[in-house]
């Protein structure tokens, strides 16, 4: 196996759980999420020579995984970041947070999940979504403010 192949395998072994958790928010099905993650890494492995910047490997695989998840929803005509309908796979475990997330725009929700479930840096999220890092910072800041406001309202004693 070549160097890029080994890097993809290392990324897979180290970050499989993070990919699975975020993809689960799209598929809401554990098995389907596993299938998407497996397919994403298989595609990345097959196309590894197309990656121009090896340092950007992880965001590139995220892009592939989100694209596959997006394809499986059948809503291909809408831009990825605006179409992915992410939600907590088991909202009953934190109904308030689930409701607060539902109130966010799809784009904000996606950034939130990539930040908190995948633990990606602003730069990695920016690379995965092909937007400026400043855009990620602003989007995340607005999303956090919105979430906290919603949660504060929901959890305030009556």
């Amino acid at each position: 196996m070549d160097e890029r192949g080994r890097a993809i395998e290392e990324l897979y072994r180290r970050r499989h759980g993070a990919f699975w958790n975020v993809v689960s928010t799209v598929t809401r099905d554990r098995d389907a999420a596993q299938d998407v993650v497996q397919e994403a890494f298989a595609r990345a492995f097959t196309r590894r020579r197309q990656l121009r910047d090896p340092a950007a490997l992880e965001p590139w695989v995220w892009r592939i995984a989100l694209r596959i998840a997006h394809e499986r929803t059948g809503a291909r005509a809408v831009p990825l970041e605006d179409a992915l309908d992410l939600a907590l796979p088991r909202p009953e475990r934190d109904p308030d947070l689930g409701a607060a997330l539902r109130a966010l725009s799809p784009r904000r929700r996606l950034v939130v999940f990539l930040r908190y479930f995948a633990d990606l840096s602003y730069g990695e999220i920016a690379a995965a979504l092909e937007v400026a890092e400043g855009t990620v910072a602003a989007t995340l800041s607005q999303a956090q403010a919105e979430l906290l406001a919603h949660l504060t309202r929901e959890e305030a004693p009556t």
Partner: protein, 266 residues
């Protein structure tokens, strides 16, 4: 400063299934296979002008379009409905384990489409739609059915009258299906082969009102009979007893009644 949201999300992180790098490599090999096969086929066509007939038309699973969301929801609804039905009937819910979100679309010709979803147990569930009857028929396979050469289901043609016979073939390559009617005539529906992981051929045929199917016969490429399903006579009897209004609902369209699906020999 700590992020008040971080702990909340941390508590929701689920343990992921174990990673399986070998599966990733297998999938990567499979995705390259169509290109390699195409190149090999081209070479053969140029250098050795022989007929390539054996399952040359198998549709690759990986290249198929995802099924529309409405169909995915129907698969999921059908699984739930069947579990509820079996729970009521037997006290123990039985699930097909349909992986609805993985459903894909395959054109069958004549405007018909097969939507296929694999099941957790290694089988598949197929749902045929055709322009003459909006929701055609249902077909499924459990892993234990693998040795069976052909399984047919039988449904009323709700819009067309008559009946629809459909099923799948797990027989050897280039096997054909022959549907024998009560007047001695036969129908020879085309078989659409789907590649791994489904590895089956789907067929369907419309039987005109007043005619009955007496057998479904599976033949090899030389016409030799491999298997014969003769349970359809009884299945027709059962179907005729059902009122037209109690025909099986399309999965997810109201309250599906999987028990009205007749699966000869199933």
């Amino acid at each position: 400063m700590t992020d008040p949201l971080a702990a909340r999300f941390d508590a929701l992180v689920e343990p992921a299934p174990p990673p399986d790098w070998l599966d990733v490599r297998r999938r990567a090999r499979r995705s390259r296979r169509p290109l390699l096969l195409a190149a090999a086929a081209l070479l053969l066509l140029v250098a050795v002008p022989v007929a390539i007939a054996v399952r040359s038309g198998a549709l690759p699973w990986n290249g198929a379009d995802a099924a529309p969301r409405a169909v995915v929801e129907r698969f999921a609804a059908h699984d739930r409905a069947f579990a509820e039905f079996t729970r009521r009937q037997t006290g123990r819910p039985v699930e097909f384990g349909i992986l609805a979100s993985q459903a894909r679309s395959f054109p069958l010709g004549g405007g018909s489409v097969a939507y296929i979803a694999p099941t957790r147990s290694g089988g598949f569930f197929a749902f045929l739609e055709n322009p003459r009857d909006p929701f055609g028929s249902i077909d499924y396979r459990f892993p234990s059915d693998r040795p069976a050469p052909a399984v047919a289901s039988l449904l009323h043609g709700r819009a067309t009258g008559g009946s629809w016979v459909n099923g799948h073939v797990l027989g050897p390559p280039a096997s054909t299906v022959e549907i024998v009617l009560d007047d001695g005539s036969t129908l020879k529906p085309p078989v659409t082969w789907i590649g791994p992981p489904i590895d089956a051929g789907l067929y369907y045929a419309h039987v005109a009102q007043g005619r009955h199917v007496v057998a479904v016969v599976l033949r090899d490429a030389d016409g030799k009979e491999l298997a014969r399903d003769g349970h359809l006579g009884a299945a027709y009897g059962a179907m005729q007893k059902a009122k037209a209004g109690a025909l099986p609902a399309a999965p997810g369209s109201g309250a599906p009644e999987p028990g009205t699906m007749v699966v000869p020999g199933g």
